[in-house]
């Protein structure tokens, strides 16, 4: 019991105390105030413990430590057996019910009690042993934990150190990134003190150090060199700037000198400057114009001093001119193009918009579409009639050269174009010779650009296909023939102008003296009026004009005039179509006679014969000069008019009617041949009128 009490006390004690057994190792503990209080309490417990130590409980504990487990087990068995025996004895005794029982019972009971006490002790022992064992294991555990922790620490340190080692081993010093010269070279080149031969050959580290040292020195040297060179370049740069300035200043000086020489040039008649400038401009010309310029300037120098060639126009605009502009495409061609981009709907529609805008531009501004090159070649040619100025311009989109007559001595002839049919008969410049589709209407361009004549294309070296069956014409037409044709044309045109002026003013055909032998002395019919007219007017007034138009003898290109002659009550109305190539092609007359009735070529054979007489036999009237053709034709017309009236009157004589026109001309028969031809032809030899004979 007492040990139970003590045991209980011990169980109630704080766990701290339990650990703090006298055999426990007292580890270092950080003292705190609370711990201090605990310590005090521990001290109290300790004091109580010492008191308790005197108790048999503590003595028992010592005893317990010495007991062996096997012995305890045997003792336990023995005790339990004893118990069993006593109990059986007790049982027997109770069974026997004898008087001796109470003493035996009491003895047995005591022995049982003792055994029970022993069992309890054994139990205690067991418990205490357990407790001791547990304490021991606990302590051992703690130790192992500590050791384990230390072990971990050491492992960690080990790892750490290994890492460090590794890092140190991996360390790449900056010196390794420096490219050093190979060792052999080093030994060859480096100075002795850096080399430290013997040592460096043995020790790699020293060798490396030595090499680094040398490298450093070398680099320093090179750096100084670099600085020097840089300063040199800068100085050179400055020099360059200086020289450049000087050069720029030189240019205006030279120009001034050139200006100063100009009067000298003029005095010596060597227009070097002008020629140089002209050649500089010539270099800017597009190819066809250049060809023309070269040809014509060479021609002017070599052959014909009457011709002067210059290049006019805006040089600055020519410099920025975009010569790669494509020819303008017409909307009709668009359907073919859009097939290529069938997949791109948006692209097609945008193209369509752009093309229509080009087309509308073309309608609004044909000059822009024509995209004419700013420079043009100007030819001034002195003819007998006066100076003729021709301007040749080139349009790349239309691929043609346009010719404009800036000034000419021949301004008359109505709307007759002086350059029409200059070398070819049907070359009126009304179509683009090379393009088949016209993006612009040529009539719009006529005022500023002129017309694209085929002879102009040929002069400029651009090939032109001939319409006739003759095949491809020569690519280069000779300048000679062109100038000759131009000369003749201008002279003819001037003559025509003067003739027309005379007709308008004096109302008599200006027949020259030499030509007057072609006509009789007296012509009674008089010219009443001469004025300009047009194709439509002729078609309205003259019934025969339609047949002529069908045969292609007249057209819009002809110059049209209206002529009125009268004699007595008879009136003659005639329309004259003058071909641009007059007098190579004679003028065509359409005649309508009004005398008692309207007579013309379709209803009166005599009038038809009259027309034939005037129209078909022009060569006779050009014996003195081709330029008198028109005047002579008109005079002949008046003579034939006279003859007609007189022969008709003569025929009337037979009927007894009064004759209005007495016979004045000399002729034998008023009608001859099967068809009763009138004697329209005046024979200059016999000086009388005879019917025209075909020879």
């Amino acid at each position: 019991m007492s040990d139970q009490a003590g045991y209980k006390k011990r169980r109630l004690s704080k766990p701290n105390d339990r650990e703090q057994s006298p055999s426990a190792v007292d580890t270092k503990r950080i003292r705190s105030s609370r711990d201090k209080r605990d310590d005090e309490k521990d001290k109290e417990m300790k004091s109580s413990k010492t008191k308790l130590q005197s108790l048999p409980v503590l003595a028992e504990e010592e005893e317990i430590q010495h007991r062996q487990l096997n012995e305890d087990i045997l003792y336990h068995q023995k005790i339990s057996q004893q118990l069993v025996d006593s109990i059986t004895k007790m049982h027997k005794v109770r069974q026997s019910k004898s008087g001796q029982s109470s003493k035996e019972l009491d003895e047995l009971q005591q022995s049982c009690m003792v055994n029970f006490a022993m069992l309890k002790k054994l139990n205690r022992v067991g418990h205490v042993k357990c407790k001791i064992a547990k304490e021991k294991t606990q302590q051992d555990k703690m130790k192992t934990d500590e050791n384990y922790l230390q072990f971990q620490n050491l492992l960690y340190e080990f790892d750490h150190l290994q890492q460090e080692i590794g890092r140190c081993l991996e360390f790449r010093s900056r010196d390794e990134s420096i490219e050093l010269v190979p060792v052999t070279e080093f030994f060859q080149k480096a100075p002795k003190e850096i080399q430290k031969d013997i040592e460096s050959q043995r020790d790699d580290h020293l060798l490396r150090l030595a090499r680094l040292d040398w490298e450093l020195e070398q680099r320093k040297q090179l750096d100084t060199e670099c600085q020097q060179l840089q300063s040199q370049t800068e100085s050179v740069q400055q020099q360059i700037v200086l020289l450049r300035e000087q050069l720029e200043n030189l240019q205006p000086n030279l120009a001034r000198i050139l200006d100063a020489t100009r009067p000298v040039q003029d005095a010596m008649r060597l227009p070097l400057d002008a020629v140089r400038e002209l050649h500089a401009r010539a270099r800017m010309l597009p190819e066809p114009l250049f060809v023309l310029f070269r040809q014509s300037s060479a021609f002017a120098e070599a052959r014909d001093a009457a011709m002067h060639v210059t290049i006019e126009g805006d040089l600055d605009m020519a410099k920025v001119f975009d010569t790669t502009a494509l020819p303008a495409k017409v909307e009709d061609h668009h359907s073919g193009e859009s097939d290529d981009e069938a997949g791109h709907g948006a692209a097609v529609s945008s193209r369509r918009r752009r093309l229509t805008s080009t087309a509308t531009q073309a309608r609004s501004d044909p000059l822009r579409v024509a995209s004419v090159y700013p420079l043009f070649v100007q030819l001034v040619y002195d003819t007998a009639a006066g100076p003729v100025t021709l301007q040749f311009r080139y349009s790349a989109p239309l691929q043609s050269v346009f010719v404009r007559l800036a000034s000419s001595p021949a301004s008359g002839g109505g709307k007759l174009d002086p350059l029409d049919s200059l070398l070819d008969e049907d070359d009126s410049g009304s179509e683009l010779p090379r393009a088949t589709v016209h993006p612009v209407s040529l009539a719009d361009l006529e005022a500023t650009l002129g017309r694209p004549y085929r002879w102009a294309q040929r002069l400029c070296g651009m090939p032109v296909l001939e319409r006739k069956a003759g095949g491809v014409g020569e690519p280069r037409s000779s300048l000679d023939s062109f100038l000759a044709a131009l000369r003749h044309r201008m002279e003819a045109r001037a003559a025509l102008t003067s003739c027309i002026a005379a007709l308008e003013s004096t109302k008599t055909p200006p027949v020259s003296r030499t030509d007057s032998r072609l006509f009789p002395n007296r012509v009674s019919a008089r010219l009443a009026q001469w004025q300009s007219s047009s194709l439509s007017e002729a078609l309205d007034a003259q019934p025969h004009a339609a047949a002529m138009l069908e045969l292609g003898l007249v057209s819009h290109r002809h110059g049209w005039f209206e002529l009125t002659a009268e004699r007595g009550s008879a009136k003659l109305l005639s329309h004259v179509a003058v071909h641009p190539a007059y007098p190579a092609v004679g003028p065509l007359f359409m005649v309508k006679l009004v005398w008692r009735s309207e007579r013309h070529a379709l209803n009166d054979d005599a009038v038809r014969d009259l027309e034939e007489e005037i129209n078909n036999y022009c060569s006779e009237l050009m014996t003195s000069s081709p330029n008198h053709l028109l005047a002579n034709q008109i005079q002949r017309l008046l003579c034939c008019f006279d003859i007609y009236l007189e022969t008709e009157s003569e025929a009337d004589e037979g009927t007894g009617a009064p004759t209005e026109f007495p016979k004045e001309k000399v002729y034998l028969r008023s009608a001859s041949g099967l068809d009763g031809r009138k004697p329209y032809y005046f024979d200059p030899g016999s000086k009388c009128f005879v019917p025209r004979l075909v020879s």
Binding site: L553, D605, D609, E612, G673, L674, V694, S695
Partner: protein, 306 residues
């Protein structure tokens, strides 16, 4: 240009069929003869060249006023010269410019007095000239025979009939000549002073006209029977398909009684010449086209000089 001008004023004066009526020759005011193929012109296939001459050449140096046919020879007369071309030469393609087989030069006083009309009578070739003479040659030997004076003005037309030779002149006289004696047997004057231009006969009747309206005469006595009321001046007429075809500005077919049968419009200009074959009537005048009419009166086709 020059050619077109010439074309504009071309007049076709004379027409002549070949003896087998397959070809038609036309002579114009410039002395050219054009040969057309009638069958190809009327053929079913519309070749543009079918309406153009097979060949066209300069036959004479003066206007060709008349064409006549003698056996296998085409006779062209005009100015002072009469040419004879062989039909074989003309239709043969090889010869470029056929040469006349023979040429007769008329010795007239002036070039104005040239041949206006030719005719073949028996074995004689007759030419009526502008000076009023009728000249004649032997067809075989081409020897000139004696000319005789026929009219005061020009001899405009000649026609051979069974009883002799009829001639019409610018003096307005129609005279019948005896072939052998060359004497005027009969003469008539349809109208005073009106020049006559043509004569045509179909054996029983004679029609002549010009400035006067065509008058029908009975051949035997040359008695005037009927006047055809033709519009305008009729320059030429011929018998065609039993009727009389007159050519003025229009081509008309008449019954001899004076009733008009039908009218066909022609091209503009006066019709100078007309010639009839069995099936076709060809007319030509003051423009370079020849019109062919069928006997029903409609225009079959037009041949063009170009």
């Amino acid at each position: 240009m020059r050619d077109n001008r010439k074309l504009l004023y071309t007049k076709i004066y004379s027409l002549q069929y070949s003896f087998d009526e397959k070809y038609l020759a036309a002579g114009n005011s410039y002395g050219e003869i054009a040969l057309f193929s009638v069958s190809s012109a009327l053929g079913a296939d519309l070749l543009p060249d079918a309406k153009r001459p097979l060949r066209c050449f300069r036959a004479s140096s003066s206007r060709i006023f008349s064409l006549a046919s003698l056996d296998n020879t085409l006779i062209s007369g005009g100015g002072n010269v009469i040419h004879g071309f062989r039909w074989n030469d003309l239709t043969n393609d090889e010869t470029r410019s056929p040469q006349p087989a023979w040429t007769i030069n008329i010795s007239a006083d002036s070039p104005l007095d040239g041949v206006l009309t030719t005719s073949v009578s028996g074995n004689r070739l007759l030419a009526g000239c502008e000076d009023g003479l009728i000249r004649s040659w032997d067809t075989g030997s081409l020897k000139p025979l004696t000319p005789w004076s026929a009219h005061e003005g020009a001899v405009r037309a000649l026609c051979e009939v069974s009883t002799g030779i009829l001639s019409a002149g610018a003096d307005g006289m129609l005279k019948l000549w005896d072939s052998r004696s060359e004497k005027c047997v009969l003469q008539r004057q349809p109208e005073l002073g009106a020049a006559l231009h043509f004569i045509c006969s179909d054996g029983e009747w004679v029609v002549c006209g010009g400035a006067v309206k065509p008058t029908v005469f009975y051949l035997r006595q040359l008695t005037p029977v009927q006047t055809i009321p033709c519009e305008g001046v009729c320059r030429s007429a011929t018998f065609f398909a039993g009727r009389l075809a007159t050519c003025s500005s229009r081509v008309q077919l008449w019954e001899l009684g004076g009733d008009p049968k039908c009218v066909a419009e022609a091209a503009s200009g006066l019709r100078w010449a007309c010639r009839a074959s069995n099936t076709l009537l060809a007319t030509a005048g003051s423009n370079p086209s020849i019109e062919l009419f069928s006997h029903r009166g409609y225009r079959a086709t037009t041949l063009s000089w170009v």
